[in-house]
Amino acid sequence: MERYYQPEIETASREQIKAWQDERLVKQVRHVWDNVPYYRKKMQDAGLTPGDIQSSDDLRKLPFLSKADLRDAYPYGLVGVPLKDCVRIQSTSGTTGKRVVAFYTQEDIDLWETCCARAIVAAGGTNEDVCQVSYGYGLFTGGPGLNGGSHKVGCLTVPTSSGNTERQIMFIRDLNATILCCTPSYAAYLGESMREMGLTPEQIPLKAGIFGAEAWSEEMRQSIQDTLGIKAYDIYGLTELSGPGVAFECSAQSGMHINEDHFIAEVIDPDTGEVLPDGQQGELVFTAITKKAFPLIRYRTRDICVLSREKCPCGRTHVKMTKPRGRTDDMLIIRGVNVFPSQIETVLLNLGYPANYQILVGRVNNTDTLEVRVEMTPEMFTDNLGEINARQKQLVDGLRSMLGLTAKVTLVAPKSITRSEGKAVRVIDNRKI
């Protein structure tokens, strides 16, 4: 029996969802016009006034916001309420440029935590559960978001934050944690560490995991589920739009339901900006229709995915997005070919290699080089050099057919690739361009 945190919203009719979106978008555009001069100017430049937006059908008339706008308007340029009404900021890691600083009113935090609560209930969470939040707490949205959602659901919340793997495992075992929230790479690492301690999946009390904040493949999901003996659910979000919980997976594990009562999703052609029909792959664009402090309109996420409105067996009616294939920022262009780290991960996991890998990109004589470092495992090791060489070749072939590129595959010692306790550092690009 599928359970919902807010059944009347999560299973509302499409007409009802559209009605909410129409009303809220019109109101939000007026709010932004009145309070965010930066965006009002963009609308004026496009010859628009709030009156031009009568329903969500008019959304496509509105100009986009991009990460560059966030940079230009830093820090207060896109804030939609007086600072006295803001109660919190959260911020991105700033790995791909300047930090994003997002603002929240108390209501904004409530709706964000509500979205996270929906995700926890969709993963089977109830007030009987012990929910360990091993996402970082602080400026990063992962910890605070899931922490708040866990409170709303009534779980016993264990705010371990990230890091200190021994302590994480101690709490999971001693307090019988049933739900784990962290990045997928950290979940894989915790699983690996517990296996090394001799723990079988049956001895690990966890039953579900809510993993997000980085791209991960279906194969990685399978491997985490097997080592921890859990069902692993994906969760999606961006600091710019509040944090995790913008979309979340249900028991069907076939894409994430976008919380459409708070966010309108579009998929566009990243080159032309043209809106694409459902089912076509493109860049995901979000409009926050309820948030007041940081009300982004048509924000380009640079995440590549596909939207689907097919009926979901879980009963939720909100549109589903596929797992992002990768951020356009994560995408590497190697010898003119677009490469997503997630593609490399898929090849490795399919061939039985661990999800721990590192991609090194370099440039020799004006030609890009791609090296994939993979850790040798006891299962894979043999005394026979020929067999190991054959496995290496199998990897090279697998990568070639996935990427259309020849990569050098280097087998390295176990645990020699740095483990991430937060977000994984998968790519080292040494090209000086």
């Binding site: 006891p378 043999t382 060489n389 390295v412």
Partner: protein
Amino acid sequence: MINQISVFVENRPGALRSMTAVLAENGIDMRAFSLAETSDFGIARVIVDDVYKTTTALRDAGFVHSVTQVLGVALSDVPGGLDKVLRVLAEAGVNVEYMYAFLGGKKGEDAYMIFRVADNAKASAALAAKGVRQVGQDEIAGL
């Protein structure tokens, strides 16, 4: 038959030493040693006095390894000694994958070699039939 321990070693300065350090710290005595290398990694093959202690120490130190059964052969330390053994194996149709010399027995008259062959049982029987002496794990440990 002898239990040979094969260890995965990265091909970079100090990698091999980090493995021998583990053996040294645990007071393990090596009887034979060989290294097979590719461009980015190698396999160190060792014969030791205490297989259990060695594999435990290597595992605890995080080294990937495996145990392979190899033949230990005592051959006369005279011209033609090795040739005789290889002829026996050739006539028995046994393929030798690799072989390496022993660090040295202390008795003087015999030389020892380690053979990794495609078919241990067949090779062992052929050597025994031709009177070639083989050494087992216990004898190795005692040398």
